[in-house]
């Protein structure tokens, strides 16, 4: 037993080691397998439901891998592995409802989609057949009108706040009110629109335009907020460059500030549209429900997709299966509309975005 005595120069001994022990690259996988196996075993033995097993496995993984790492790699790496595990698992948790929702809607809604479903209304339809043409038209008209009302109001309000108010008392009051408006429950917005039109046109009024007013109450604060943030991001240097060329303020705003912020504003507006396109409660109150096509938003009831879904599920009558299938189909169409709006916003945003390439 003669171990050679290695003597090193003091400088080399004082130097910090650059390599430390490391877990194998497969360590997370091994830990996951181990945690999963343990959880499965415990779950089967104790006859737990599978949710409990998943939770136990998740918890075991978060204990096993950091502990292993702590023993071998040290504290910093162990914390890193714990946090990595937490971040990934919460990400998966957040994606779970989204993915399962889209999956469910696709599976149940796709069978309902066909030419008739998209081009027929529900007028005189009992049982099978019929479609959501009337609701698509209603949603498009009402949401479009709401956009027409709230985009100019919202953008002009944001321009006032950012460009003209200089942080005065009115600006602070407006910002506060906008914040309050963001939190208004949608049913209250519907009641507001209903009360407004009852004052003007008498009780029992039902019209699509009222729905548009209710939706714009919900939309305006979102548009104001999004536009305000985007306008604040436009550097003051650009405004000054424009002033220095002898360009008046309003023209600077229209030709320099707004185009520079346009992509962000478009995104904000589209998100606002997507947000209100699925609103049910206010439309239930003021736009009502109908089975017929109504092209006139200023008279009579108007069907919309969310209200159609709601009433198909709640008033199933003698043909619950047909009603349910139509509800899922309408839900799929609504999701497709909202998603394509988002895609359009991305494309538009990219087209208008400030160009930096050569």
């Amino acid at each position: 037993m003669t171990t050679p005595i290695i003597t090193r120069p003091p400088t080399e001994r004082a130097a910090l080691p650059l390599t430390t022990p490391q877990l194998p690259a497969l360590a997370p996988l091994l830990a996951a397998l181990m945690a999963g196996g343990l959880a499965l075993l415990a779950g089967l033995l104790l006859a737990w439901p599978w949710v409990a097993m998943v939770v136990l496995g998740w918890w075991l993984y978060l204990v096993v891998l950091p502990t292993w790492s702590l023993l071998l790699e040290g504290r910093r790496k162990a914390v890193d592995r714990l946090m990595t595990g937490l971040v990934w698992s919460t990400f998966a948790l957040a994606m779970l409802p989204l993915v399962s929702l889209i999956w469910q809607v696709l599976v149940r809604g796709l069978p309902a989609l066909n030419g008739q479903f998209l081009t027929y209304s529900m007028r005189n339809v009992i049982g099978e057949g019929g479609g959501i043409y009337h609701a698509i038209i209603g949603t498009t008209l009402i949401t479009g009108l709401a956009t027409l009302i709230s985009v100019p109001v919202g953008i002009l309000c944001a321009i006032y706040l950012v460009e003209y108010s200089a942080g005065g008392r009115i600006a602070r009051a407006v910002t506060f009110l906008v914040d309050v408006m963001t939190g208004i429950p949608s049913i209250v917005a519907g009641l507001f629109a209903y009360a407004l039109f009852v004052l003007i046109l008498g009780p029992g009024v039902r019209m699509g335009f009222g729905g548009a007013v209710a939706l714009s109450v919900l939309m305006i604060p979102i548009v104001v907020r999004a536009t305000e943030e985007m306008l604040k991001l436009v550097p003051d240097e650009l405004r000054e460059a424009s002033y220095a060329l002898g360009v008046p303020k309003w023209r600077t705003i229209v030709k320099v500030v707004l185009p520079t912020a346009l992509s962000g504003i478009v995104t904000g507006v589209t998100l606002a549209i997507a947000r209100v396109a699925g609103e049910t409660a206010p439309l239930l109150i003021i736009a009502g429900a109908t089975t017929s096509v109504n092209w006139n938003p200023f008279a009579e009831r108007m069907a919309t997709l969310p209200v159609f879904i709601f009433s198909s599920i709640t008033e199933q009558g003698r043909y619950p299966e047909a009603q349910t299938e139509r509800a899922w189909g309408a839900a799929l169409v609504l999701i497709i509309i909202v998603m394509s709006l988002n895609l359009i916003a991305r494309v538009v945003g990219r087209v208008f975005a400030p160009k930096t390439g050569r």
Binding site: A166, L245, G246, V256, T260, T356, G357, R358
Partner: protein
Amino acid sequence: MAKSIDVSDLDIYYGDFKAVEGVNMTVKARSVTAFIGPSGCGKSTVLRSLNRMHEVIPGARVEGKVLVGGQSLYDEGVDPVAVRRQIGMVFQRLNPFPTMSIYENVIAGNRLNNKRMKKSEADTIVERSLRGANLWEEVKDRLNKPGMGLSGGQQQRLCIARAIAVEPQILLMDEPCSALDPISTSAIEDLIHELKSDYTIVIVTHNMQQAARVSDDTAFFNLKATGQPGRLVEFNSTRQMFANRTRRPPRPTSRAGSAEPPLGQGVTSASSR
């Protein structure tokens, strides 16, 4: 076309804070005047008051007189927009309009002011301005590419081309080279020499050598202490100011002349930044 600037008893405030006091100077037409001094002494503030850009900042105001070619800038009824059309400005930060191409950037001053012009007319202005800014040869093949795609020095020359496209009488430059490398700086300095024959140029710079190289007259600003207003300490021809340092400093033009720091000290403290 170029005009002279007479400044008398100029005090500048940001709200209640007096940033600059008692500035008197005369900037000659068709010459380059450099403003030098330590940071925060009010050089840029004075420069911005020369085309009423100062009041863009909320709460900022000016007392005193600024005459450009004999016309007062701060009289009642003077439209700041009209003033800025005659007195162009180039900034420290490179600020081409990001949504516009090179061509649109140059013609922006005309387009944004809604001047109707023929395509050929606009082409002429763009070419003349870009040639004036020594940028034409480098960008003539890619006029429709975004202005942000140019290098820093090219972007600054683009900004100069944009400023001279509206044919101002005076060109104010606020540290135009501080973000640029020596080669681009030298290109801009050459350009300043050329522009001098047509424009009155006022340039703020932190670079003593640059002031000595490009300017005919130099104004030295300083402040007694932080929180005190900045003052014009000396205004003189550049040759005198930079060459005769061993002699007694010339009499300051500022009114409160007794409490100045010695000239040499002031200059070294500024140049050591």
